[in-house]
Symmetry: C2
Subunit: 190 residues, 2 copies
Amino acid sequence: MKYPNALKKEKINTFVNHKNRGMSLEQALNMTNGYYLENDIAVIHKKPTPIKVLETKYKEGQKQIITKAFYDEKSTTDYNGVYKGIYIDFEAKETVNKTLFPLSNIKKHQIEHMKKVIKQNGVSFIIISFIALNKIYLLKSEILINEINNNKRNITIDFLEKNGYLIKEKINPRIDYLSIINSLYFKEDL
Amino acid sequence: MKYPNALKKEKINTFVNHKNRGMSLEQALNMTNGYYLENDIAVIHKKPTPIKVLETKYKEGQKQIITKAFYDEKSTTDYNGVYKGIYIDFEAKETVNKTLFPLSNIKKHQIEHMKKVIKQNGVSFIIISFIALNKIYLLKSEILINEINNNKRNITIDFLEKNGYLIKEKINPRIDYLSIINSLYFKEDL
């Protein structure tokens, strides 16, 4: 409040840049979901990575050690949970690209999962972080699927500006995507 | 239809016993959820077991092998997903006990998770399979939590008969728990 607006804005941006340095989208989303959970705002977790365990052993007096396992290919999306009675399901992706997000990053079985969630009246979306631009967008899966059906290979920043929602980064919750869900489904702010 | 009722009943029971032999509750629920998924009835998956990966290696031309990992203790519940717009979340337990289910089988952090799901208007319950009795019950978490709050140590079959719902086993879907959810929340049959 002490600074003229222009200077204040610069200060905030510097801080935003600083706080993102070294933090992955996954870490930032886990912190965000932790905030939602602690404050009884929502129950949304990262789904554990499916792992196929082949061999384990016990060392005396210690807990079970997994000694041979593989990452399972057939995962669905990254996060799901419940918010005000609605089912939330989303995938989170980062890109170093400065102008577009290549749709080859979304696997076919993930699209099938999104379609099934939509059929069940769940809320399905993707969060795309453009690291170099320091911008994070939310795009509803309905629109994503429509682009894929129209044989589009990329989602451009321009497209996201028109059809997606920029998630403003805050200190806490860091990536407040539920503020977008609120305005879309509950017509109010978080 | 050819058999007198008594004989018909016996035939079915024999079949039910046979088909359950060697099949765990988890396998039966995964088949049930597979049926729901394929027939666009619901999108409910077993949450992958959380595993903390410590070491991996690549063998030439092969996929990544996990060589050291541990099971993470802090899991929530076994299954979640969406059905007709509502969030479904449940734990599944088997017991060889013939008269009761010991509540020590439910971990404290699982109860906390159930409470948070209920706060968000999600549908939370537990499925308990009594292997020796060949009976499977659904109990709403609200009732489970109430028993724990009243310092109860067990849930008896009698209690489940009065406060839970017997899930009749079928060929497909095998453990049709959504028929109970339907009658509770949608006042209709599946």
